[in-house]
Structure formats: C-alpha cells, structure tokens
Assembly symmetry: C2
C-alpha cells in the first residue's frame, strides 16, 4: 500500500535491526484518514471472502480493525490483554508471548461474540514472529470459527511469522512488508500493488 | 443521543448499582456504525470550538476517539496505561486511580504529540468519578495545551466526576447520562436532545 509505505518512510524510525517506531501515526498518535484507507485496503484484499466478524487485540489493533469493520459493516471484537471487571464468564483464552517486550500475556475473548458459525478476519498492527495472530487464530479454532484471513498493517518480513502463517494455509495480507531494518534505514520488499489480490 | 440510549437499554446490563456492562458494542465487541455516529455527535456538540487534537486513553476510548478525530480531520492520541518499548523519551505522565478496578495506573503521552499550541478534545468511554478525564486534562495542563472540552460516551451521573469537571469550568458533553443503575434496570437523566449544544 503506497500511502502507508510513504508514511513509514517519512515518519517511521528504525531504532535497531528489530524495532520500528511508528508512534506518530499508528501506535500512539493515530492518523484517522490513513486508518480509514487501511481499513478499505484490507476489505479490498479480502473482497472474495465472506466475513462476519473482525477480530483484533488491544490497543494498536483497534484503529485499523475498527475501520475494516466499518467498511465491512460487521462488528469488531478486540481481545483483552488484561482482565476486565465486566468480562469474567465464558472466556476463551490463548497465551501470547511478546519477544520484543519479553512478556507473556493471556489474551481473552468472550464466547458470546465469536461463534462456530463466524467467519473471522484477524487484523493486527504488526506481524513479527506471529504470536499475536496465532493466539487470535487459536481462539477462533477453540470456538470452531473459521479464520478467513489475517490482515497486517506492517509485517517484519525478516522474521518468521508471515512465512509460518502462510505455510499453515492462512491468507496473510500485509500492507507494508519490511525486508530489512537498520538504524535510520527502512527497506521494503518490492511488490506490485494489488498483485496478491484475488478477485 | 437517542441511538446510543436505545443500544444501552437493549444490550447493556446493569450488574450492580455501580457497574454497567456494555461489552456487546463498546468495551469488547464494538459496533463500528454506532462508533461513527458517536464520533459525529461529539463533533456536533463541540462545533463552535477549534480543535487540533483528540486525546483519549487505551483501550475502549480509541474507537469513539478515532471516529471523532476522523470527522474533525485531526490526529488522535491515545494515552498509554502501560510502558511501551518505543515510547520512552519525553513522556508526560499522570496518575489515574480506578475505583472499580481498584488499581492505579500511570498514564503517559509523548510531548511530541501534544504541544502548548494544541486545542485538545478529550474523549473517553465512561465517566464515573472522573479520574481518567482529570488525568488527561492534567497532561494537557503540563504541556500548556488548552482543553476545549471533554466528550464522554456514557456518564454515570450518580457519581461525582461530571459535576466536578463542570464545576472546574470544563464543557463536558456526555452522550448518555445515567441517573441510576439497579440490577436489571437502567435509568437515564432525561434531556432534550441537543439542548446543550451551543452553536
């Protein structure tokens, strides 16, 4: 997605070979117009699929997820990383380890909102080793819902998550795929825009 | 806001005299069309004010905040409750105690995104004793930004936060004001729709 790549190049900061800071438009400050375009692009990439729910994880997934859900006119569910006061019964959980944050969270979704009949589009802001996406897919599997695809804003393609998930048969659509990060330098995998859209 | 009140009456659950569960459209599952209408309604209520930034707090504030920011065509900033790996320098913080969750969080915003020249609309999902809104206003004060108003999706008007913030001179606009909660019963403060809009 050209607009996103341009934004990453102009505002993103490669802090190390692993860490890309995009706090100015995605992870702390959010550009609502870009989020809307991201939502539309996800819907375009999964246009051939029936989708009944969008599933993401708090907090940075909510923006892109909500915009995709709005475009699709289906509900968004955001998995909780922390216990909620009112969300206590019928929880479906998965364990998600963050290698960058060096912590493991139990993420949870109420079984009231993802059912066996649902066709779920998983959305997240980043894909690195794929723990979060795998946790969300695992929750879908537990309730018998179908994962119709995984939409990622920024994929660190030099890490294993994207390949692993595609090898497992998931349609993973990443709007910007990063080949390499070096301090002060961001290199994308060159892809023809729309080349992986099947309509 | 009639649409919101109807949604609260049809899907909300009063779990006690203090706790209202709205997980089906706001706090866990989100209704994107309702969120869009909520965003529009906030913009209508603050139509006479110049706004340069929308400020909210993760996670449930992001949906309504993003939609208000989209409608205003200004950035959204969501304050972090937890430390971020990439958000480490120039943090402005405030201490926020949650009486319902019985925990105190240090919320933080980067000083890169809220500046002295900013005119900030604070948005949050709930207003009870007003700790979160006060923390966000405190962050604005620390950097010298002006709080032009506080937009709340659901105000528990039987708690002190709304009155306190209005007494301090803030324009607080709550889209649904709850007079009383009892198990299985939700009573709103009756207001003429649009009665508090100054244009």
């Amino acid at each position: 997605m050209q607009l996103l790549k341009e934004k990453i190049l102009s505002e993103g900061q490669a802090l190390s070979k692993d860490i890309l800071k995009v706090d100015s438009f995605l992870n702390h400050q959010m550009d609502p117009v870009l989020m809307k375009e991201i939502g539309k692009e996800f819907v375009k990439r999964f246009a051939h699929k029936e989708i009944t729910k969008v599933l993401t994880i708090e907090s940075s997934g909510i923006g892109p997820g909500l915009m995709a859900a709005l475009e699709l006119d289906v509900p968004l569910i955001f998995a909780r990383k922390r216990k909620s006061l009112t969300l206590t019964e019928g929880l479906v959980t998965a364990s998600v380890h963050s290698f960058t944050k060096k912590e493991t969270n139990t993420i949870s979704v109420s079984d009231k909102y993802i059912k066996a009949r649902d066709k779920v589009l998983i959305i997240d802001d980043f894909l690195a080793v794929g723990q979060a996406a795998r946790g969300l897919a695992d929750i879908c599997k537990q309730v018998g819902a179908e994962v119709v695809g995984i939409g990622i804003v920024i994929e660190k393609a030099f890490q294993s998550g994207g390949k692993d998930l595609r090898d497992q048969g998931f349609q993973v659509e990443s709007l910007a795929r990063i080949k390499e990060l070096n301090v002060g330098q961001i290199t994308f995998i060159e892809e023809r825009e729309g080349a992986i859209v099947h309509v």
